[in-house]
Amino acid sequence: MPPLLRVATAGSVDDGKSTLIGRLLHDSKALFTDQLAAVERTSRDRGAGGPDLALVTDGLRAEREQGITIDVAYRYFATPARKFILADTPGHVQYTRNTVTGASTADVALILVDARKGVVEQCRRHAFLASLLGVGHLVLCVNKMDLVGWSRERFEEIKDDFARFATRLDVHDLTFVPISALHGDNVVHRGAAMPWYEGPSLLHHLEQVHVASDRNLIDVRLPVQYVIRAGDFRGYAGTMAGGVLKPGDEVLVLPSGFSTTVRAVWGPGGVPVAEAFPPQAVTVELADELDVGRGDLLCRPGNRPHADGDLDAMVCWFSEHAGLEPGSHYLLRHTTSETAATVAELDYRLDVNTLHRDETATGLSLNEIGRVRLRTRRPLLFDPYRRNRTTGGFVLIDPVTQDTVAAGMLTGPRRPGRSVVWQSAAVTREQRPTQGATIWLTGLSGSGKSTIAVELERRLVALGRPAYLLDGDNLRHGLNADLGFSARDRTENVRRAGEVARLFADAGVVAVVSLISPYRAGRDRVRAVHEAAGLPFVEVYVDTPLEVCEARDPKGLYARARAGELTGFTGIDTPYEPPAAPDLVLHPGDGDPATLAARVLALLER
């Protein structure tokens, strides 16, 4: 059981939220006698009968004077089972930004309903915001049960009503507790008024709720925060944002794309760490001397985040001074990096009460939520927020006022907008004289891909099948002339070649692609594009060892790379990721190019 649970509460004074928190603190004996004495004194001054527990939580004088809560207040209490950090936020729609802030780090959200009023707009809004911010566990506290005669029917009615609404949300754990914060029933102790309720009290539920598996322990993500140098020591310090990292693990440094291994992992104070996981703060030593700095990210070679500067995101607008307008410029803080960003488009504004999408909206003002397209000057290394809250969340800062003006959740790389539609053709694939396919040859430079590809094209044409060779080198003279050899450009190079191959295949031609295409994810995307279009795709891995390729060195490139004249050369200073499940693997000893080409063709006929 993780000893620390972060809970967000949202609700208005009318729902009895402050009373509930006061009750939780009071009945769990987290309230100190001097605090309680102050509350009793004030209650007496105001002519209240008993201590008004709502007074426990109101903080700033401005709030006391206005009788409202205007910010996020953090409360701490502990039971023998757990320590709780309660982020307490006001409930009105004009405090949506506070609710969002409180929910950003929460494991559990407590949502209050007045049993007399049922599931009202505010309650749905809180549930939606919690779901948007990735809070996986919701607890609906049906309060003021004393005012509905402790009615089981009323409780069930509210429960059904809310459960129906919650199917539209991304919530995997939903719990209902009937309570009376005023009298204390089912808050800390069960109480005798509702014998029909068989579940745990609220506090007991919070002590038990299982949140450990909410963390992402699969995708290794370590955003580099700070470089620690001391003598010969060079360590990359950061807080684990995902996955489990161990000494000896092969890691990839992004965005440079260099790979190396982890020599050691240290905790604070130089404690050796056998396995690092979120939310540990660690310092990692790498086996090779690479140029790594703040804003870079360490991951595993076969599991990288998206790297994109054209993004889709949900944002919540925080500024009362200026609204969000498409075309405006901001600074975007994401993990440990900061880059300039422009809001390119506003897709829609979301009504947080009805979840209605207003596509005619032209901007967002304070507390409004919408989906935007962002362009960043440098690509972000990110995961969708649903998969990882740390690598998927960001804030926007106004470069002039320096205020934090928005929080955002990345949903993914930009998808083609609605304005791009498919034009259907009059000719179906079956009506074409020939059926196409794509043969994709991947492997190191000098592995023999092109020789085999040339032979394949020759044979296919000889057999009367339309075929066309798409050679990586040749494509770089035209279609891909604007691309270099960075990881990003290589990814784009592969994407374009894949799209062209798909068009050829769709037209009835066998596209023979000969491309180093070093990244597994890029090749997998090309395969996915073909599969989605119902086109055959054959991945052939020309597995010639590096030493052999280097000995052949047909274009003299290895020699130049070794001499340092070429950088970003696959196999020398950037990684090659072999396919996990290729359709065919060819080794240099398997035969001459004609034999090898025949084997590929056999595969195609199958």
């Binding site: 100190f32 109101d58 802030t101 807080t239 604070p268 130089g270 800062i397 929080a407």
Partner: protein, 302 residues
Amino acid sequence: MTGYELSQSGVLEAEAVHVFREVAATFERPVLLFSGGKDSVVMLHVAVRAFWPAPLPFPVLHVDTGHNFDEVLEFRDRAVRELGVRLLVGRVQDDLDAGRVVEERGRGASRNRLQTVTLLRMIREHSFDAVFGGARRDEEKARAKERVFSFRDEFGQWDPRRQRPELWNLYNGRHRKGEHIRVFPLSNWTELDVWSYIAAERIALPSLYFAHRRRVFQRDGMLLACSRHLAPEAGEEPYEAVVRFRTVGDATCTGCVESPAATPEEVVAEVAASRVTERGATRADDRISEAGMEDRKKEGYF
């Protein structure tokens, strides 16, 4: 039950380490407030661990009221020597001598409020842009809403309306020249967390924090120590008792409690069972008014 879980103090330490590194990476001239009090001792301990094996990349600053317990000053000097950190001292006395502030007079007078002027002077003189403080959100109601990165304007003042939303672990420390950010790495720690950490890490503290015999007297329901800075007045009968301090501030206004707890473990047990907050029990300065802390924070107090 799955593996890969950090202890409670592990989580809190990781959070604080993240904050220290974030500041070291993004600010030009940070400084850490170090009084020898337990929160600042814990804060310094975590800071040193955050940058291992490199030395602490910023100095520490003591705002000296001149009304210190002797044990605390000795401890301060020993601690900075052993940890190899650079200590700066800002003296309230210098501001009194220069006429920038005037000593409070009468019963209950203290130099606590005067510290603010000295702190802001030091920040200005050294162009500090980030100032680490050991404040915790559980200490006082007004602090429950304090940010981890708390923005201060060019006059060192805290404006509740200019505080920035803090989401996830993304902190916005941007500021203009002359403005600065107060940073509170221990925001989410409670008194019990601090003591548990002290016990687990075997962190040395001034002897004042543990049970010892001392001449004390009662005033306004608090137990104050007789010292060269504070003497009982007529009707306040001094007596000897076994006491310890829960906080150490200005000797003129920091009270102690009767306690037999002589080790960190015993203090942990005592704190866990305590029914009175540390400030409620022992800080006359916080009792001035209900909104005492909020007013003082606006002036730039830590």
